[in-house]
Amino acid sequence: MSHGAPRHVLLYGLVALTASTACRPTRKSIAVGSKVFTESVLLAEITTQLLQGSGVPATHRQQLGGTRILWEALLRGEIDIYPEYTGTLAQELLGAPQGLDLGDLERELLQRGIRLGPSLGFDDSYAIGVRRDLAARLKLRNLSDLANHPELKLGFSHEFMDRADGWPALRDRYRLPQRDVRGLDHEVAYRALASNSIQATDLYSTDPEILHQDLVLLEDDLRHFPRYDAVLLYRAELEQRMPQVPLVLNRLAGRISQSEMIQMNARALRDRIPESEVAADFLRRTLNLDTATRRVGLSARLRQNTEEHLSLVLVSLASAVVISIPLGILAAKRRRLGQIILAVTGTIQTIPSLALLVFMIPVLGIGPRPAIAALFLYSLLPIVRNTYAGLTGIAADVLESAEALGLPSIARLRLIELPLASPTILAGIKTSAVINVGTATLGALIGAGGYGQPILTGIRLANVGLILEGAVPAALMALGAQAAFELLEPALVPRGLRLK
């Protein structure tokens, strides 16, 4: 276990049980991680296939989430390698807003047990693009050249308008005179560029639109934008554990040019070619390496996603039922303690699901475990509240009669109160199950798999088919859960309560 991973097991007392099994098993296979965007997925896929092709067992843990999640997972050793950008490393992860030179960066990383691997050969930073014909006509090559054309209309993404190193800083640095500058949606900006209603916009320097729209990137001659060189990060201990890995990774050094990356992004995003094939093509062309990529069919994918999703839901829901019903009973019997229990479970419900998932990572890492813990916490409230409501809603004369008979309180609970509350409790479990099935799709963001996996990929690639591949079965599973409980009802709710 790496340093810097707080083990606040007690803080998350309820998940302590699962946490005790959270220690990473010693993996034989190298895990390569990627963020939720296509370029990261492509680079990780290339790395994975290269390792596999070189005889190193490797798996690709796709689109685990954002920078933070990947970084933490790398520090904790849940993944061994992932592609990153030097600018992001310096600014977001090491807290050096001015950027660091490579030597400093290497030192900082090594202190954390991380090795700065090979630089892949391209830089993915902010850039300003103009149409090729316009660039030729106005002789625009550098950003400085823009200063000679105050009549140009500029349209930037909203993010770029706001960023510290965005438009205001760029304008000051290059003394740009343009007055007609507006914030636009990125997609709209490309269309505006095509119709010539704006003449320049911001984009990432490996954006496939550069190819598609035939744009020219203006040279950042005053070095305004920090560099975002693509690199591979890996855990330093790999050098001892699997010394061949760094050597294999070095084969990628300088192999991916800007235009190559733009091409690959374009093939994945515009031509909808699976990343694994784009990666295999690249390895064949540049390293003469044949990697067998297998396309996984729809039904196999569905089966795997269903298995993963179902296990997330079943484990989290079952533990929630086991914990919530006693909590609900306690809440109903001890009114003051009950207020606390209801307040705490209610508060958990107000934490945005994504935030809750991320909170779990320091304790439980990535993968299904933190997702199950988060889903468990989310499933508590409906069951606790309904158990409480079911028990406190029993008619006073029935309760009095039971007590006056001389039944001990445990027997009253078992023979009278719980059976009477059972329809309400069951309704709570039903609510939890439906919410759980829906929320579990977010688990894919932290590597838990399930129906969220195709949804994430679909959103990333703007591929409605893929989104539906996750969304439709998730909806069906929610309906199925509902139906299953309707079927269970006769077995769980006494007949006398079902008569009308």
């Binding site: 029935v398 009669s401 006056a404 009278i416 006494p494 006398g496």
Partner: protein, 249 residues
């Protein structure tokens, strides 16, 4: 059978029962009567231990009724509430037998007891398989009575047992109850706000007002020598006033 000494009960600021002494003699029927909120139901719940007195003590058959002893002592009391208080998820038979089953009586013993009580209360045997929502209000009260009598208790405590019934059913059940009380020779404490009903059942009437016992005696004593003008007011408020000596409906 019951002995209450200096028993007081408050609900928050409200004094539900001022310090009260009351002795309930064995084998007789005592009726607690008074307007709403006078403390009659509170008094009954103190006897069965559903409420704890703030001050004073409640003794049952010579033993002080403490929370530790309440469970055992309650099994020697039968308690019937308005509406019956039947468990809706159990059928009539299961309702009646719940306590005997909990005490692990032999099935044949349970069956004998139920047969006897069904006859006593005139409950048709086909009703036993039905759930509370499937039988009439009067039948529910009979099941409730069977449940209360199942363990053959020493006393029967009834809180407005006929309050929720229509007049015809009420009339019929009143006569049956009177017969049952007479036949079983048990100590009975019955709460009602209806003077006619009180007179019909009572060996003695206890009239309460605002948490205090105003007078205790037969209806005749209450009429002849009221301890307080309220006694006469209460009696006169019940229209038509029952004629002395032929209180039975």
């Amino acid at each position: 059978m019951f002995e209450l000494r200096g028993v007081t009960k408050r609900f928050g600021e409200r004094l539900a029962l001022a310090p009260t002494d009351l002795v309930v003699p064995s084998g007789r029927t005592l009726v607690l009567i008074g307007p709403s909120g006078c403390g009659k139901s509170t008094l009954l719940r103190l006897m069965v231990g559903l409420l704890r007195p703030d001050e004073g003590e409640v003794r049952f058959a010579g033993t002080e009724l403490t929370p530790e002893r309440a469970e055992a002592l309650r099994r020697r009391m039968g308690f019937v509430v308005q509406g019956g208080g039947l468990f809706p998820h159990l059928n009539a038979r299961q309702n009646a037998a719940i306590m005997a089953q909990y005490l692990e009586w032999e099935p044949s013993r349970i069956q004998h007891r139920i047969d006897f009580l069904a006859q006593l209360t005139k409950l048709p045997t086909d009703r036993f398989g039905r759930y509370p929502v499937e039988i009439s209000g009067g039948e529910r009260q009979r099941v409730s009575l069977i449940r209360a009598l199942m363990l053959d208790p020493d006393v029967l405590l009834l809180d407005e047992p006929l309050g929720a019934l229509d007049p015809m059913t009420r009339f019929e059940l009143q006569r049956d109850l009177q017969r049952i009380f007479a036949q079983l020779q048990k100590t009975v404490v019955l709460v009602t706000h209806d003077l006619g009903e009180a007179a019909f059942f009572a060996d003695e009437i206890v009239l309460l007002r605002a948490g205090r016992i105003i007078q205790r005696g037969t209806l005749e004593e209450l009429l002849r020598s009221p301890a307080d003008p309220f006694v006469t007011q209460f009696i006169n408020a019940q229209r038509p006033p029952p004629s002395l000596g032929s209180a039975a409906p």
